[in-house]
């Protein structure tokens, strides 16, 4: 419902930007997707922290699933961002924008998580190594997020908020909030489904080992 509402508001209700025209509406999908990717990576780091601190074994699969979701939303951020860049700046990608490069580094860092995870045998050692790696990545999150605020604005748009509040009209801000809620709900639902699938898979593997 939220997704349909978000789509309707973004494409039909929100006012058109005077400078960018219809392509500005990409903002309503690109920014929520990017923020959802940050939330997924932060959730993965939190679960990794719980695994290392509380010895909560279930947190390994939860952290892994969150990285999985974060990488999917990361790909979508890069693709929707590239499409927006092409129409706004005339290029698909530019290396001169620190925000873009930092997000790419964050994305590649978490993509490498899978290589690390599958290069070691399943067990407590793999869980701990993966957790340490996921936790290290959390350092990149504020760097990537704050880069949009701290870097000089050359091409990438200014941040949504500053000390004076949201930098857009009330209807645009409302649409953005609905789209963000929809994207977070979608990520939450996919996370639950993926996690359940991975848990059932693990149980089946154990059962198979017992039976054969």
């Amino acid at each position: 419902m939220l997704l349909i509402a978000g789509l309707g508001l973004a494409l039909l209700w929100a006012p058109e930007d005077a400078d960018q025209g219809p392509s500005q509406r990409i903002f309503y999908i690109h920014v929520p997707v990017a923020l959802t990717a940050y939330v997924c990576f932060a959730w993965a780091a939190w679960k990794a922290f719980r695994l290392l601190w509380k010895r909560d074994d279930r947190a390994d699969l939860e952290s892994y699933t969150a990285v999985h979701m974060g990488v999917i939303f990361g790909v979508l951020t890069l693709v929707t961002g590239s499409i927006w860049a092409k129409i706004s700046w005339g290029v698909w990608w530019t290396w001169s924008e620190r925000q873009l490069v930092l997000f790419l580094i964050l994305f590649l860092f978490y993509s490498a998580y899978f290589m690390l995870r599958y290069s070691t045998e399943p067990g407590p050692r793999r869980a701990r190594t993966s957790a340490v790696y996921a936790l290290f990545g959390v350092v990149l999150l504020p760097v990537s997020f704050l880069a949009i605020r701290l870097a000089e604005q050359v091409l990438h748009p200014a941040p949504l908020f500053n000390r004076d509040g949201p930098q857009m009209s009330a209807s645009m801000f409302f649409t953005f909030c609905v789209c963000l809620a929809a994207m977070l709900a979608l990520a939450g639902a996919l996370y639950r489904i993926e996690l359940t699938g991975k848990r059932v898979d693990a149980r089946l593997r154990e059962l198979r080992e017992h039976l054969t």
């Binding site: 789509l7 494409l11 960018q20 025209g21 219809p22 392509s23 509406r25 990409i26 999908i29 690109h30 997707v33 999917i72 790909v75 979508l76 693709v79 929707t80 499409i83 927006w84 092409k86 129409i87 979608l186 996919l190 489904i193 993926e194 699938g197 059932v200 898979d201 089946l204 059962l207 198979r208 039976l211 054969t212």
Partner: protein, 50 residues
């Protein structure tokens, strides 16, 4: 359709397609799990019988 509208449609379609592909992959995974479960149930039945 203007160029801006084409790019706008492309951005939304990419996200929609990704969600759709993900749902299809989950459906395939569920089918595999169901098949494996049936196989394990058969194995358990054989062991109990034999």
């Amino acid at each position: 359709m203007s160029t801006g509208e084409k790019y706008l449609a492309a951005a939304y379609l990419v996200v929609f397609a990704a969600v759709l592909i993900y749902v299809v992959l989950i459906a395939l995974k569920l089918t595999r799990i169901e098949r494996e479960l049936s196989e394990l149930a058969r194995l358990a039945e054989e062991r109990r019988g034999g």
